[in-house]
Symmetry: C2
Subunit: 490 residues, 2 copies
């Protein structure tokens, strides 16, 4: 047992240092004085170097060879440590450094190009990023598919061919639903009114509590981009406020609470082990999206939110609870993924998934990206892109080198659809409780069947274990068609 125990003790320290890294990122976005940015860069680079050295330490390889697990948790730990060790040691230090440097430059170029609406100014650096990412993928793939090797970083075990089949079934029905909804004679009203920031933040804390967020092991602050950060007993979230758009604050909060409850819900026995964090981006997104959409944007919960807003603001900007529900779920034409509703969101993601696979394989040149994007967008959404900041320059991801990340958003939505089906079949009274502002029956089921297990199983097994059936896109589609068919009287 010595090798196993030594490896676990060493990993525990590495995980603890990983938490420190996360805390620095949180601080940077919430508390750090602006003049400290450069020094913080030095601090994070130093800690990042320590983490990389620990993760590639030859002793880890020796321990892995000698270690024997005696239970499923031990086996999972060894599997996850081996995976991390192999992936990290496969990428040469020279390449890792070149990627860090080039993506740092690329982010700056991207921001400038986006501001100037000048795709051509971004193309050369995107091309450099792509070359390096292909090199990284080749190092990781050991002869296998390049895109799969990158995807595996965010969704271990997933394969693009499987996702393609799933998304191929999703896309036509979403395109059709989008057309039907926007062509309906019954269009919900827009929200009216102004909603004071302090009251939005108070209500937002109440929403977090309603969904089971544990404030003794977390906190909510304001930040430009909402995010969740940390694992174990220190999981913090951020939200944002626009006084004319309280749904932005409320649903950002509920979305991040979904991420945070997943982390807070993991069994304390996995704390500071490789199982002590959400198992993949897709499974993480399934939690944020089911909290936000299937639960938070349900007729039952919006009914309660309507009364809460009436009480807090003296009015909720809608005639009654039914109208409020339709307003919360209003589908509007738009260019921007992050602002998209449940119907259109995945169409944005699928577009990126198809384009980035072609970029990685070399079938699509960076120079031809804009045209390919605009053509595809008009095909799925029915109208042309008006400017690059509304088109291929809208997301930061590719400049950061995040190829293989986008599909996990839609996979998360598909998983949320599966979990919602299983939840509704397993637990009675979910809606009755939501109608009184109590998400406990739903979130307790998610904790029991999914969250507590952390990284014990692979991502897909995690979902299958929780649902009791093979995950597919069908439940999400059925849910969306039923929900929006009713709202839009299709």
């Amino acid at each position: 047992m010595t090798a196993f125990n030594d490896l676990m003790a060493y990993t525990r320290e590495t995980e603890a240092l990983g938490q420190v890294m996360g805390r620095l990122g949180w601080d940077q976005e919430t508390m750090m004085p602006r003049g400290a940015a450069e020094q913080r860069g030095d601090e994070m680079a130093a800690l990042s170097g320590v983490l990389h050295a620990r993760r590639t330490d030859p002793r880890v390889g020796d321990w892995l060879e000698a270690a024997q697990a005696t239970d499923p948790a031990g086996e999972a730990a060894l599997r996850l440590i081996r995976r991390s060790f192999e992936r990290t040691t496969k990428v040469p230090a020279r390449l890792a450094a070149a990627l860090a440097k080039t993506t740092s430059i690329a982010q700056g170029k991207w921001a400038e190009a986006r501001k100037a609406q000048d795709v051509a100014a971004f193309v050369p650096v995107l091309d450099e990023v792509l070359k390096l990412k292909r090199e990284e993928a080749a190092a990781l793939a050991s002869g296998g598919d390049l895109y799969d090797a990158l995807l595996d970083d965010y969704e271990p075990g997933a394969r693009a061919a499987d996702l393609e089949a799933m998304f191929g079934a999703l896309r036509p029905r979403l395109v059709a639903l989008r057309e039907a909804v926007l062509g309906s004679a019954h269009q919900p009203a827009e929200l009216t009114g102004t909603y004071a920031e302090t009251i939005q933040l108070e209500l937002s804390a109440k929403l977090a509590a309603a969904f089971g967020y544990d404030f003794t092991r977390g906190r909510i602050d304001k930040a430009v981009h909402p995010f969740s950060s940390g694992s174990g007993s220190d999981v913090r979230i951020t939200t944002r406020v626009a006084e004319d758009d309280p749904f932005n604050c409320f649903y950002s909060t509920i979305h991040e609470v979904g991420h945070a409850c997943y982390e807070q819900g993991i069994s304390p026995s996995y704390a500071l082990t490789p199982m002590g964090q959400g198992v993949s981006m897709g499974v993480h997104e399934s939690q944020s999206r089911i909290y936000e959409n299937q639960l938070g944007r349900s007729r039952a919960f919006t009914g309660w939110l309507f009364s809460q807003m009436q009480e807090a603001f003296g009015g909720a900007g809608a005639a009654d609870a039914d109208a409020f529900y339709a307003t919360v779920n209003k589908v509007k034409p738009g260019y921007i993924r992050t602002e998209a509703d449940e119907v259109q969101y995945n169409l944005h993601v699928l577009l990126r998934f198809d384009l980035e696979r072609d970029l990685v394989s070399g079938q699509l040149e960076a120079a031809d990206l804009e045209e390919a994007w605009n053509t595809r967008f008009e095909r799925d959404f029915g109208y042309p892109v008006d400017k690059p900041s509304n088109g291929c320059l809208q997301d930061v991801h590719w400049s950061v080198g995040l190829f293989g990340y986008f599909p996990t958003y839609s996979l998360g939505n598909v998983y949320a659809g599966c979990l919602n089906k299983a939840l509704r079949e397993s637990v009675l009274g979910v809606d009755a409780a939501l109608a009184s502002g109590d998400a406990t029956p739903a979130t307790a089921w998610l904790k029991e069947n999914l969250q507590q297990h952390g990284g014990l199983r692979t991502p897909r097994e995690t979902i299958r274990h929780a649902c009791g059936f093979e995950p597919s896109e069908a439940p999400l589609l059925d849910y969306l068609e039923a929900k929006f068919g009713a709202i839009y009287k299709l």
Copy 2:
């Protein structure tokens, strides 16, 4: 130059990680959710292990042997790195671990004993701490004085014999001044009134700005104990608020601003080098105390504060600016060091200095501490200690193993006295500016002559360089006797 450059690059990363450690401490006292305490302990232990391994890395010894400096800054860097390397490597890992464990237990025992007013319950663990500290001192002293070896951790180069001579001259004149002040027929009034927290905090930020605190490289938050944390471009402070005692908030803030301005004032070229932090506890305290007392509690500045309080609160609890000045500086009998005024503060410290030298040498047993404390207290203050929490159990320091720390408080006050004398002789119009809420002429002189140099010179040389004369206790005594003589009409 390779060895020198390699050592500097390595040290830069270590310093950056040290800053991360400081940030975790700040977070723990200000932002951390209470349920995260245990995990934070694991995080800090892991980072602490990384820092210790880096500081004792044999490569540092090799580089130090081979490195050649080509300028005074390089020489200072080598001197400071050599000092840290030698001290850290001299203490065996077994002893360092025993000290960490025992002092952690001792802090808990101390808190319980203090609450129960039960010195006997604290004596056994204090005895254990002392044994370990003597062992540590012996490892560090290489045959020299044990107490000096511990003192050197906080005040490099200082020797107890020199401090004893200085404090020996301080004590009788302070005892006499205390008696005269408390026996005077002219006693200032106490502050009256209640002062709203939000307004205290606003005015406190205004005071920080008046003393030159740079908010683009720092921030102020509330905490149970005021402190300053961080170096370079991220130096944060905390303050506290009691609605019946606004001076607590204002002078805690100005004190911490003194510490913070020292760190913020260090030349950016020293950032993340061993010179990039305040050079010693004593020199640090000289900055916090001159800001707080010689500048902040001056007649000129309190005149401005009086008008600010009148404006902010609609009243400043005193008849006029002269009465307000006397109230700010009122001397009251009391048992507690941290609540003591300028006249009595050093008497508290000198008591601890004398007792802790005897504890380290073994001349005083832990079991006899209470009696020794109470005897000495009554001799200097004129009345007996009423209970242990007002006596030998009032400070956390000894339970943490901080032997050799106390004298740096008084050394800081002595240094502040010297700096105040030099400042007043060098800069005209200090008081005229303070009277309009502008500390710039004073703080600019301190930055130019002391703060910017960071750790370039030894602590005592730092003060001598700034003052232009050998530091002694005389300026502090002259200042105190003049100031309190006038207020109390002696």
